[in-house]
């Protein structure tokens, strides 16, 4: 037993010493980084501020460390800046050769280097970088691909929209959040690019994200595509109904009424349709919504009461009648909406 324990003590003591050395090395490195940050960071911030205010020459960071700190400070500033100041700082970074470095780094072997480069180009988001970003679309790493795709979408590079769309579709399974960001960028810059994603032939996850983006961004030009999705599966129909409600598409009211009254559909889809009818504000929906106040399903009942509350006097009249209902669950929903 003693020999087994002695071996264990020796192994553990070695491991503890190794860890202590690593910990010391990490701490020394962090302290050195912080010291450098304190040394060069404020100067970089001041230089950028003076340059953007037109009160000084363009900053010229020299040396690897100073350049790296200047890059980090500038990128942090880019996330906050808008308009001409953003353009000026982007141009300055270009003049200082940072984008050339990032474009070259997009072909690096290490994934982390490529990701950082893609992030840098994404923050810059300017059209002249498009060729490098298109190269990035065929990267092995989904995060690099989607960063490049999002930047291309934001930069308004219309000729590569099909490639950007294809990247979003390709990565929707492996990196769903990053792919959704690409679709979001497309929705902001090229809403029409979402149309093929909304068609019945597109993969369900892509359609789901495109529907959500179209609705949340209130892209009225995509309403016909959203209306077509009301006849799809329950999940897609619910998202489409929610989007049509946010858009306020009066032409969808008929299809939404059909969905709301279809007892064969899932509760979530019917509830979304009822909510959308209220958001659209079509008084013709009142006769459909009135019986739904007595539905046995709480979400339908609550959604119907809230929808009626948005339909002006005809809806309010129904709610006032419901406030005298013999059924307490109907009464409480109506009273909650009617209270000032």
């Amino acid at each position: 037993m003693s020999s087994a324990l002695a071996i264990a003590v020796a192994v553990l003591a070695t491991a503890v010493i190794l860890l202590a050395v690593s910990l010391t090395a990490i701490r020394v490195r962090i302290r050195r980084q912080r010291r450098r940050q304190r040394r060069y960071g404020p100067g970089a911030s001041r230089g950028i501020a003076r340059y953007l205010a037109g009160a000084g020459d363009p900053p010229r960071p020299a040396g690897r460390v100073e350049r790296a700190i200047f890059r980090d400070v500038a990128l942090a500033a880019l996330t906050d800046l808008r308009g001409s100041e953003r353009e000026e700082l982007t141009a300055l970074l270009g003049q200082l050769g940072y984008f050339d470095e990032a474009q070259a780094a997009l072909t690096a072997h290490r994934r982390s280097v490529r990701r950082r480069a893609a992030e840098m180009l994404a923050l810059a988001g300017t059209a002249p970088l498009a060729p490098a970003l298109v190269t990035g679309l065929s990267d092995r790493d989904p995060l690099v691909r989607t960063s490049c795709a999002r930047t291309l979408a934001q930069a308004g590079a219309e000729d590569v929209i099909p490639e950007v769309t294809a990247t979003a579709a390709q990565d929707i399974e492996s990196a769903p959040g990053a792919a959704a960001a690409v679709v979001l960028a497309l929705g902001n810059s090229h809403p029409a690019a979402l149309t093929p994603m909304l068609r019945a032939g597109a993969a369900a996850p892509v359609r789901e994200v495109a529907l959500e983006v179209a609705g949340r961004l209130r892209l009225a030009e995509l309403s016909p595509s959203l209306r077509a999705c009301l006849h799809d599966g329950d999940d897609l129909a619910a998202t489409a109904a929610e989007g049509l409600g946010l858009i306020g598409d009066i032409e969808a009211a008929g299809a939404l009424r059909d969905l709301a009254s279809d007892h064969g559909r899932a509760l979530a889809a019917r509830t979304a349709a009822v909510t959308a009818l209220g958001s659209i504000g079509d008084p013709a929906s009142v006769p459909l919504l009135e019986p739904l106040l007595e539905s046995g399903d709480w979400p339908i009942r609550a959604a119907a009461a809230r929808a009626l509350g948005k339909l002006g006097e005809p809806g309010a009249a129904v709610l006032r009648r419901a406030a005298w209902s013999a059924r307490p669950e109907v009464r409480e929903q109506a009273e909650a909406v009617l209270q000032p």
């Binding site: 910990l23 960063s147 769903p176 959704a180 949340r216 709480w298 929903q333």
Partner: protein, 463 residues
């Protein structure tokens, strides 16, 4: 006696194997987290209309001293779409009055949704202005019951459970929500880091200055928390076998919580039980899912500094482990539940529940063996050295991981104190905790004792 010592040694070898594996996985997972965390794709979505809405649920029972500051602090969180739902769980003090006065609340008619069961709601209050705040006053039913009421009233995609006496950092909600944006369909729950607030300067619900506590007990808990969160939870996340998302700070998909029936009442560890249940439900249904510990969003909590409250807390935690293992006993060693059934739950059973018994009897047996001359003093000393060195190894590993990601205590003096306490905990503190945890076995059939403690409070006096 010697056979038992061999048994203890075998137990220790298994302990070392599992915890070293978990530590190694934690290192890999943290590296992955840091690498993926840089991507702006997700941060862009977080600031967009696609960001999931969150309801922050604050169960409050007799929290009159700090509730207003806590809510003010929560109102300043950096997240685009969130509401705060305070659930007054039948407080007998002035909790309700303080909230009504501070935020200009008025009673409103609001039907109680029936999605998950809880005790009756007495009244609902909402602000006159545009604050995203709701106060639910309900009959006393415990924390789980209060959280269930909050889940019912939440109209959001996600619900976040926080303790009324905790302080969340401003960006904590955003960071904890990122996995839901990264993988919206698969992610069902996330939890952030809980740190010991004792020693920190906190004003009006905000951490102004981070410092280590002066109290010895609080320092020991700093070491425990760093080890538990960095070396353990991160590692279990890598295996998708995380068994606890702290009740002080956890984010859940609301539809999943409703489908699971909400928190289980009548247990002292509703946070542990719900995670085990979510694993069981998802794995039984063959549904792809993940439960994630996110290492850098921080929630600060006040740790007990007296033996009385610490003992109560630890007995409660141990009882919670026992209850959860009993409720989900069919998952243990069941290959159907993957790493949860084959590694995480058995580890909890062997190392958390039976561990204190094995370790304490190990001390007794080895001292007896020494006294009877069955082992020599060298063997005895080596036995103790192994135990101390391994504890130090895990703590050093955890601190190394903490340093490479968060580095909240950068001073060398802080590191020296943490390591000193990591060694020192073997000289009485650890054994004391084991005794309390063994006491919990006797408590299982009694009425649960809740860990309410006399809080010093965070708020500094207004100058």
């Amino acid at each position: 006696v010697i056979a038992y010592m061999w048994f203890v040694l075998a137990y220790f070898a298994a302990f070392v194997a599992v915890h070293t594996l978990v530590l190694a996985l934690a290192a890999v997972e943290l590296r992955r987290y840091v690498s993926r965390g840089r991507t702006a794709n997700l941060r862009v979505t977080l600031r967009s209309p696609l960001a999931p809405s969150i309801a922050v649920l604050v169960p409050a029972f007799n929290e009159e001293s700090g509730i207003v500051d806590s809510v003010r602090s929560l109102l300043s969180l950096d997240y685009p779409k969130y509401e705060i739902i305070i659930v007054n769980d039948g407080s007998t003090d002035a909790t309700i009055g303080r909230l009504i006065e501070a935020f200009g609340l008025r009673p409103v008619r609001r039907p109680t949704p029936p999605f998950v069961p809880h005790l009756p709601v007495r009244a609902v209050y909402a602000p006159r202005g545009r604050l995203n705040l709701l106060l639910i006053d309900k009959e006393n039913g415990g924390k789980a019951d209060a959280l269930n009421a909050g889940i019912n009233f939440a109209g959001s995609d996600l619900v976040c459970s926080v303790d009324a006496d905790s302080v969340m950092e401003q960006d904590a909600l955003s960071k904890t929500a990122l996995p839901f944006i990264e993988e919206p369909d698969r992610t069902i729950a996330t939890g952030g880091m809980v740190r010991v607030a004792n020693g920190c300067r906190i004003e009006h619900g905000r951490v102004m200055e981070v410092a280590l506590p002066r109290s010895r007990f609080a320092m020991f808990q700093v070491v425990e928390y760093v080890r538990a969160f960095f070396a353990t939870r991160t590692g279990w996340t890598a295996m998708n076998a995380l068994l606890i998302v702290s009740g002080a700070f956890g984010l859940f998909r609301r539809d999943v919580m409703v489908a699971a029936g909400g928190y289980r009442t009548g247990t002292v560890a509703e946070d542990l039980e719900i995670i085990a249940r979510l694993h069981r439900i998802c794995r039984s249904a063959g549904r792809p899912y993940r439960i994630v510990y996110v290492p850098d969003p921080v929630c600060w909590t006040e740790a007990p500094e007296s033996t009385r409250y610490l003992r109560r807390q630890r007995r409660r935690w141990q009882r919670g482990c026992l209850e959860t293992l009993f409720f989900h006993r069919r998952m243990i060693f069941n290959p159907r539940y993957g790493a949860v059934g084959l590694v995480a739950l058995p580890s909890m059973l062997v190392f958390e529940v039976l561990g204190p018994v094995i370790e304490m009897t190990g001390y007794v047996v080895s001292i007896t063996a020494l006294a009877l001359g069955l082992i020599g003093p060298v063997t005895f000393a080596l036995f103790l050295a192994v135990s101390v060195l391994y504890g130090l190894f895990i703590t050093l590993g955890a601190v190394t991981l903490e340093d490479s990601t968060a580095n909240r205590f950068p001073a060398w003096e802080d590191l020296r104190r943490v390591l000193l306490y990591a060694v020192g905990e073997n000289c009485g503190y650890r054994q004391m905790l084991h005794v309390w945890r063994i006491e919990a076995f006797a408590q299982v059939f009694r009425k649960p004792e809740w860990g309410a403690m006399e809080r010093k409070g965070f708020s500094a006096p207004v100058p």
